[in-house]
């Protein structure tokens, strides 16, 4: 097993944060949620 590096941990943490807070996904789903709620 690869020995964990501090930089790799930072990379994974940053990637996770980037994906889960990305503006385009948020806006797109928001639009679809609102469309769904109106039904």
């Amino acid at each position: 097993m690869k020995k964990k590096s501090k930089k790799a941990v930072e990379f994974l943490t940053s990637l996770h944060k980037y994906i889960t807070t990305h503006e385009s996904l948020r806006n797109d789903t928001h639009k679809k949620n609102r469309a769904g709620n109106s039904n």
Binding site: A8, F11, T21
Partner: protein
């Protein structure tokens, strides 16, 4: 029961360019002149045409197919799953562990979305057994496992219609 209408595959399709954007930013910051090419070369997704199948490790007579592969700066297999069932979490953990146990990848980033309205899978992370399992697979198998909840999802990816909470970065 509230579900996001998007299929797992649709979400994967949306996550793909986000990962590439992340890698572009990463390599740009490192000073790469052609950071876009560097980012695209460092990334592979399931179904992409290429010859990487030939290089995949076979275990139990089956090849490993992560949803995404980041080849640089670290060799990372990425899996995205969503379900209302905890058994899918177990399946995802097993799959993730195999990726690093075969020494095919240095790390695994596994993102699981709890589709239950009450976040019942996410809430188990605070319990001893589940919390220890997640810590253990990170410690011993380099599996970076994260669960996001449905309520959380609506906060992050839209607006929760159950409360007035608004996400701020």
């Amino acid at each position: 029961m509230i579900h996001t209408k998007k299929t797992e595959q649709a979400i994967q399709t949306e996550i793909r360019p986000i990962i590439i954007n992340f890698l572009e930013d990463y390599f740009k910051e490192l000073g790469y002149k052609d950071y876009i090419a560097k980012a695209n070369n460092a990334f592979y997704w399931e179904g992409q045409e290429g010859n990487s199948d030939k290089n995949r490790t076979t275990v139990f007579n089956s090849r490993n197919y992560p949803d995404f592969i980041i080849k640089s700066p670290y060799l990372i297999a990425m899996e995205y799953k969503k379900s209302t069932y905890g058994t899918v979490v177990k399946h995802a953990i097993g799959q993730a562990i195999i990726h690093t146990m075969c020494n095919e990848y240095e790390y695994v980033y596994c993102l699981f979305k709890d589709e239950n309205t009450d976040d019942r899978i996410l809430n188990t992370v605070n319990k001893n057994d589940e919390g220890e399992i997640i810590a253990n697979i990170w410690e011993n198998f380099n599996v970076f496992f994260r669960i996001i909840g449905n309520i959380w999802w609506y906060h992050i990816f839209g607006q929760c219609n159950k409360c007035n909470f608004r996400w701020s970065k």
